[in-house]
């Protein structure tokens, strides 16, 4: 197992290097002079001041030189300084990660619990009203724009019922609506996949054998059948992680929730390129690491995978 994990770890290094190159190039491709953007482009800023800033940012150097210093800084955890707040990008991002982790974590939990449970229930009641109703709701749920759903939740649960706070991150209550918004789509996708996988598994021989042995239905379903349906479910959860991570950009904007996504939207709006660069880099890294974890989880779930690689 250790070797398998190591193998996976090493495999993700070139990917991360590629991500670094891609992000570095991205910011240099943006039309317009970053110095102009940084200084606001006003006539007030003298040419000397602009040049000084250019030197300070290293923008007067050839690209390869810029890249070397970029990677050098990166290796020291230095992602540059936000144009806007004048603070280290790494500090800005670090201060937001706990919030986003909480939000994405709860959304993931909702996704897994709601998605798997409804999927299993629908599969064991195939063709029933419950099955039809949940699958209908799931199909609609993947068709609704997330920001709209979030605004509706605010209107209903906060404004109409007064149960939950509208926005911010003051208490755990602030997490519920954004996490529900974020988890809606993913749990719908997961419910559908769980259902169809479970239907496959339930029709297999070992399930029939288990039933024939007189095991209780609940044990047959959750111990035997579900365990065998886990691989596609875990695959999908790994994939939905990506949707959850970038879903935070929209959801955090709606709920004014101070996470990485909202920081990203503000950075885009103010063209704060060091910050955009840092957020993209960190988000991609989180995603790569998350997928690494999913891969490792596979190794536990299905020993064959370890040997295949």
């Amino acid at each position: 197992m250790g070797r398998y994990i190591l193998f996976r770890l090493v495999g993700s290094i070139p990917v991360l290097m590629g991500v670094v190159i891609a992000v570095f190039m991205m910011v240099r491709l943006v039309p317009g002079d970053p110095v102009k953007i940084l200084t606001g482009g006003g006539a007030r800023v003298t040419q000397e001041q602009q040049d000084a800033l250019r030197r300070q940012l290293g923008l007067d150097q050839p690209l390869p030189v810029q890249f070397v210093s970029f990677v050098g800084n990166l290796s020291r955890g230095d992602l540059g300084t936000s144009y806007r707040s004048k603070r280290p990008v790494s500090d800005e991002i670090r201060s937001r990660i706990p919030n986003s982790a909480k939000l994405a974590g709860l959304a993931l939990l909702i996704t897994i619990v709601v998605g798997v449970l409804t999927g299993v229930i629908a599969s064991t009641h195939k063709g029933s009203l419950v099955d039809l109703a949940t699958m209908f709701v799931a199909t609609i749920a993947v068709s609704v724009p997330g920001f709209w759903f979030g605004l509706m939740l605010i209107l209903f649960f906060s404004v109409r019922l007064g149960w939950l706070p509208v926005s911010g991150a003051d208490s755990w209550k602030n997490l519920i609506l954004p996490a529900a918004t974020l988890g809606l789509r993913s749990s719908a996708v997961l419910a559908r996949v769980t259902r169809s996988t479970m239907l496959d598994v339930l029709s297999q021989d070992f399930v029939r054998t288990a039933r024939a042995k007189g095991l209780r239905e609940r044990i047959v379903i959750y111990r035997h059948a579900l365990r065998n349906a886990l691989i596609p479910i875990v695959t999908l959860v790994g994939l939905e992680l990506g949707a959850l991570l970038t879903g935070t950009f929209i959801v955090e904007t709606v709920f004014a929730y101070p996470g990485l996504g909202l920081l990203g939207i503000q950075a885009l709006q103010t063209r704060d390129f060091p910050l955009i660069q840092g957020i993209v880099l960190v988000t991609a890294t989180i995603y790569v690491v998350a997928n690494l974890c999913v891969d490792v989880l596979y190794g536990f779930l299905d020993p064959r995978i370890r040997y295949m690689s």
Binding site: G41, R44, K86, R87, L151, S167, P258, Q269
Partner: protein
């Protein structure tokens, strides 16, 4: 993002008198000075804050949800049915403690009083840092950090006598040195508006006296002293921060800076040692509330839900939401009726290959510029998009500007699409099959920009619609603020919708001359305009000044160099439990008397 920050006073300058005892006393002895000061006071806000802008400025875009309200109309009048307008009716002593929560649609850019650009910043800084003099809600000059200010007979030396016993938040004591230091810092090349004091220098006469020395008389400079961007800061603290206060402003104001989490919130706490010098504020000392929390909430609908549920006490109300809060028991509205912001359209000028300046085709033809003016149904935009929350204005000066008078309305354009079409016909742009006019095989096609934001984009779409009806082909884009400011003069667009917020009549000169403004090269294009507008700088009598600016304004507007549209009216939405919240001049928010009920 307007191009210009402004002091606004929307006072009728003809009726103004000086009501600051110290100031008037020292001035009254000399006849000549009286005239100067009359001009000064009348133009009160008139400090040409040169704003020029580069980045985002402290401007207040008309009715945009993307801006904050301040800087706008001075007199806040709440609806009579407002539950909180009069403290006495509310009954009882102001409750001490609590946190007032205020929402903004964007974050501050910088909290250094001398280096910020946006209104989102000035809303914070205004509560932390005070100026030597400020404007009352009635637009009187009021000494805040001074006992008095005197002006020499030749109008070149302004002597400021510092008020005793004023403390900075860090414990330092206010003295002449701090004022000289702060003003010089607000004027230096790192400041947001370098040179805004028109070449003034400062001389500390004794520990509590400082002279501001002008190279030549300038009737506008006194109001610069009242500008939020000229707040007084403690020199030692600035030195400790390596001349960078962007993260931590320190001043003498009623609230101390506590924390700024960029993109999320700023927190201010009551300053225990605060001593209020203003007669129009009841509370003599520390504010009643403990804290003010200024939250950034980008989404308008979320802000509104927060106001409805009491999570936020104060927002700038988007114009299309005003109606739903009329008669609401939980929240009331405060309108800043006397807006001093002007919204306008302007063809963009650009430097040509030979170094001259001109418009970009097709606007290099005067008839095409004028046709834009005649094509617009401005009243319909005001009613249809702004819900009537704007005052039609045909001239470059807002009605609240001290240089403004009725005659300014004899310039400008009416809605007359036939005239627009006729002008285009005569200019050789003839109607073709597709509805788009053509000349020499070229289509009458323009790119039109405003900044992004729901209200901006609604205005932009309507303008696009009117122009298309007279035969323009218009590509309209709402551009993100930072990019709009950066690129609107780059030649990527022909026409922009923008606003400025500036209260001296010399704004007319700035609009033509400030290269950061869309019509900013007009002085180079039109020498006659330049000459007349410049003469306005040399006189101190407001009537006379107003006259020069009237002529200059008329030249500019009738040429189609700038098409003024309206003065927006900004509206604050306030929670019912927030009592005695007041507006100062320019809609500045004052929380000294404010308290939270229950």
């Amino acid at each position: 993002m307007s191009m210009i920050d402004r002091w606004d006073s929307s006072v009728d300058f003809m009726t103004r008198s000086i009501e600051i005892p110290e100031l008037s006393r020292s001035l009254a002895s000399r006849r000549k000075f009286l005239r100067l000061s009359a001009a000064v006071v009348a133009s009160l806000g008139a400090l040409p804050l040169l704003a020029a802008c580069g980045g985002e400025d402290d401007e207040t875009p008309a009715g945009s949800e993307a801006t904050s309200p301040p800087d706008v109309g001075p007199t806040a009048t709440a609806p009579t049915d407002s539950p909180t307008q009069t403290p006495d009716e509310a009954g009882g002593e102001p409750r001490r403690g609590g946190t007032i929560v205020q929402a903004e649609v964007a974050d501050a850019d910088n909290l250094d009083p001398h280096r910020y650009y946006t209104t989102f910043s000035s809303n914070v800084i205004n509560l932390v840092c005070e100026r030597v003099i400020q404007l009352t809600p009635d637009l009187e000059l009021e000494p805040i950090l001074l006992d008095s200010i005197e002006v020499s007979e030749d109008a070149l030396i302004y002597t400021m006598h510092v008020r005793e016993g004023v403390k900075f938040h860090n414990g330092d004591t206010l003295d002449a040195e701090a004022i000289a230091f702060s003003h010089a810092r607000a004027d230096n090349e790192l400041a947001a508006y370098p040179g805004q004091f028109y070449g003034a220098t400062w001389e500390v006469v004794d520990p509590m006296t400082v002279n501001m020395i002008m190279p030549e008389p300038n009737s506008g400079v006194i109001l610069i002293l009242a500008f939020t961007g000229c707040g007084i800061v403690p020199p030692n603290a600035v030195a400790e921060m390596n001349d960078d206060m962007s993260q931590h402003p320190i001043g003498t104001g009623p609230f101390m800076f506590k924390e700024w989490v960029p993109g999320d919130h700023a927190t201010l706490v009551a300053f225990d040692e605060y001593q209020n010098p203003r007669p129009w504020i009841e509370n003599p000392g520390r504010p009643h509330v403990d804290e003010i929390l200024i939250r950034v909430i980008l989404e308008e609908q979320t802000q509104i839900a927060e106001l409805e549920t009491g999570g936020v006490h104060l927002i700038l109300m988007p114009s299309q939401q005003v109606a739903r809060f009329e008669g609401n028991d939980d929240a009331y509205l405060i309108r800043n009726e006397q807006s001093t912001t002007t919204a306008y359209l302007a063809p963009v000028t650009q430097e040509q290959a030979d170094g001259t300046h001109d418009w970009i085709e097709p606007f290099n033809d005067q008839a095409v510029r004028q046709a834009v003016g005649w094509a617009l149904n401005v009243d319909e935009i005001i009613e249809g998009v702004l819900g009537g929350l704007a005052v039609r204005n045909r001239s470059t000066l807002p009605t609240g500007n001290p240089g403004y008078s009725e005659k300014f309305q004899d310039m400008g354009f009416e809605y007359d699409p036939d005239r627009a079409k006729q002008l285009l016909d005569e200019a050789g742009w003839v109607a073709s099959s597709g509805g788009v006019r053509e000349k020499d095989g070229q289509r009458l096609s323009i790119v039109f920009w405003s900044q992004a934001g729901a209200t901006f984009e609604r205005i932009g779409q309507l303008v696009q619609n009117y122009l298309q009806q007279v035969g323009f082909e218009v590509v309209y884009q709402g551009i993100e603020q930072a990019i709009f400011v950066d690129r609107r003069l780059s030649g990527d667009c022909h026409l922009v919708y923008s606003t400025y917020n500036w209260n001296d009549p010399d704004i007319v000169w700035w609009l033509g001359g400030d290269t950061s403004l869309p019509s900013g090269h007009y002085v180079k294009i039109n020498p006659e305009f330049d000459e007349i507008a410049q003469q306005g700088w040399l006189v101190t009598e407001l009537d006379e000044r107003g006259d020069f600016y009237y002529q200059a304004s008329k030249i500019m507007v009738e040429d189609g160099a700038m098409i003024p549209l309206w003065n927006p009216v900004f509206v604050d939405g306030v929670r019912a439990e927030l009592k005695d919240f007041k507006h100062g001049a320019q809609g500045r928010r004052f929380f000294n008397d404010a308290y939270l009920e229950g």
